[in-house]
């Protein structure tokens, strides 16, 4: 599709054959991934799929054992200043210095970022209803996430990285976070990379998606391509079957008797013809949610 590479500009993140082992566990297995400039990139995968390990490589917190990681064309381990100064990051743990007050956290973080925007920081603090005198350790879970989001956003980073930003948060805070993602990319040229297992959120806000599973990328495409290339078809055969006949392009199948539902990847017309060739009639043909697509991909 035309928007696969929205611009000729070099990608924001370019990872090639990255491998990472923790003991005997293969966390990342020759993983390659390109995150183009501008837009929202959703990284989806189950627990232990390798999302956080991948993000830690992008931030230069882990060094590549083999393969390469480039962010803004630079190696984040060798040139941390050139990379980290342009990234806003919110981790799942939202590890903030507990002893500080909100105001202190803001001025402390400001010191690291020359581009820190004081007016914007204050605007966010007000919108998030954060008391400047409150101690971080006394903040509720939601307020803590908002404080983390504030310091990730206030230097207007070129790349905003959010690792499971919504996990364990109530709908109001989740809305703040998703709203911040949307406002960030509405500013020309900015990029958001976020990992999540809440696929309804990803479906709403992501332009592109990568599915990560067992340390590998199973699929990466624009949200439109993913939605348009996957269908759920229910076929009715002339007689009951104990096992469903194989269908070209089928990712998974379940059912019983004469009716079987296939999750397929391919052109709708081609799939229909394949079904007819098996002597089946298509009794239902519908689009899939990202959730269903994800499950059919990781659990064939």
């Amino acid at each position: 599709m035309a928007d696969s590479f929205p611009s000729a500009a070099p990608p924001i993140v370019e990872i090639q054959r990255l491998t990472r082992q923790f003991g005997i566990k293969m966390a990342l297995d020759e993983l390659s991934l390109v995150v183009p400039r501008s837009g929202v990139f959703g990284l989806i995968g189950g627990n232990g799929a390798g999302k956080t390990t991948l993000i830690r490589h992008i931030l230069g917190m882990l060094k590549a054992q083999s393969g390469s990681v480039k962010v803004f064309g630079l190696n984040p381990v060798e040139q941390p200043v050139g990379v980290l100064g342009r990234i806003g990051y919110l981790s799942e743990e939202r590890d903030l210095p507990n002893w500080m007050r909100v105001q202190e956290l803001m001025s402390y973080t400001q010191a690291f970022y020359p581009q820190w925007d004081d007016g914007y920081a204050e605007e966010l603090r007000d919108a998030f209803d954060l008391d400047p005198k409150a101690r971080i350790k006394n903040l509720s879970r939601g307020q803590r996430a908002r404080a983390g989001l504030l310091i990730a956003l206030a230097h207007r980073p070129e790349l905003l990285v959010l690792d499971e930003p919504s996990s364990g948060l109530d709908p109001v805070v989740r809305r703040d976070i998703l709203g911040a993602i949307i406002r960030t990319i509405a500013d020309e040229g900015r990029t958001v990379l976020f990992s999540s297992h809440l696929l309804d959120e990803v479906e709403r806000v992501a332009d592109r998606v990568a599915i990560i599973h067992h340390g590998r990328i199973l699929l990466t495409a624009s949200m439109e391509e993913i939605k348009e290339s996957h269908r759920k078809m229910t076929l009715r055969f002339s007689q009951a079957m104990t096992q469903p006949p194989g269908l070209v392009g089928a990712l998974s199948c379940n059912g019983a008797g004469a009716e079987w539902t296939y999750v397929c990847n391919g052109e709708a017309e081609q799939l229909r013809r394949a079904a007819e060739a098996l002597g089946a009639s298509v009794v239902d043909d519908s689009a899939l949610t990202l959730d269903e697509i994800f499950i059919s991909r990781v659990k064939p």
């Binding site: 949307i182 709403r204 332009d207 949200m223 949610t289």
Partner: protein, 135 residues
């Protein structure tokens, strides 16, 4: 403008926006000349990607439902066009088909369904509304 996005049934989000705006126009809840919210505003309200809203607006423009004006802004076009009528018919068909399926399942004849439609029409006729409009 009341739009509801659901990620439970697989319908692409841009299409949900297109269909609901078409519905609002066909139902007269968005009149000719009404301005649609800016892309960014609607994206933030619905919590969806701005590109998705942009695509929905493009599709609506191609279908002749809305037009971009040079001064910026997207407006509902004049609804006298045959295309709008076709949309209205399409929306009604989408609602009639499930009704007919239900009727068949419950063994209700088509004549009885039509009779029922007439009955409901008489009952729901907005007589009071008419009076207040006339007066």
């Amino acid at each position: 403008m009341q739009i509801h996005i659901s990620t439970n049934d697989g319908v692409p989000i841009y299409l949900q926006v297109v269909n609901q705006i078409k519905y609002l126009v066909a139902a007269g809840r968005l009149a000719a000349g009404a301005e649609l919210p800016p892309i960014r505003t609607l994206a933030e309200t619905l919590i969806v990607n701005p590109n998705t809203i942009a695509r929905a607006y493009r599709e609506l423009e191609m279908a002749g439902i809305v037009e971009k004006r040079r001064t910026a802004g997207t407006y509902v076009t004049d609804q006298g066009s045959p295309l709008a009528k076709r949309e209205r018919t399409k929306i009604l068909i989408e609602r009639i088909d499930p009704l007919l399926a239900d009727a068949r399942h419950m063994d209700v004849s088509i004549d009885d369904v039509i009779k029922l439609v007439h009955q409901r029409f008489t009952l729901l006729k907005p007589s009071r509304l008419k009076e207040s409009n006339d007066g």
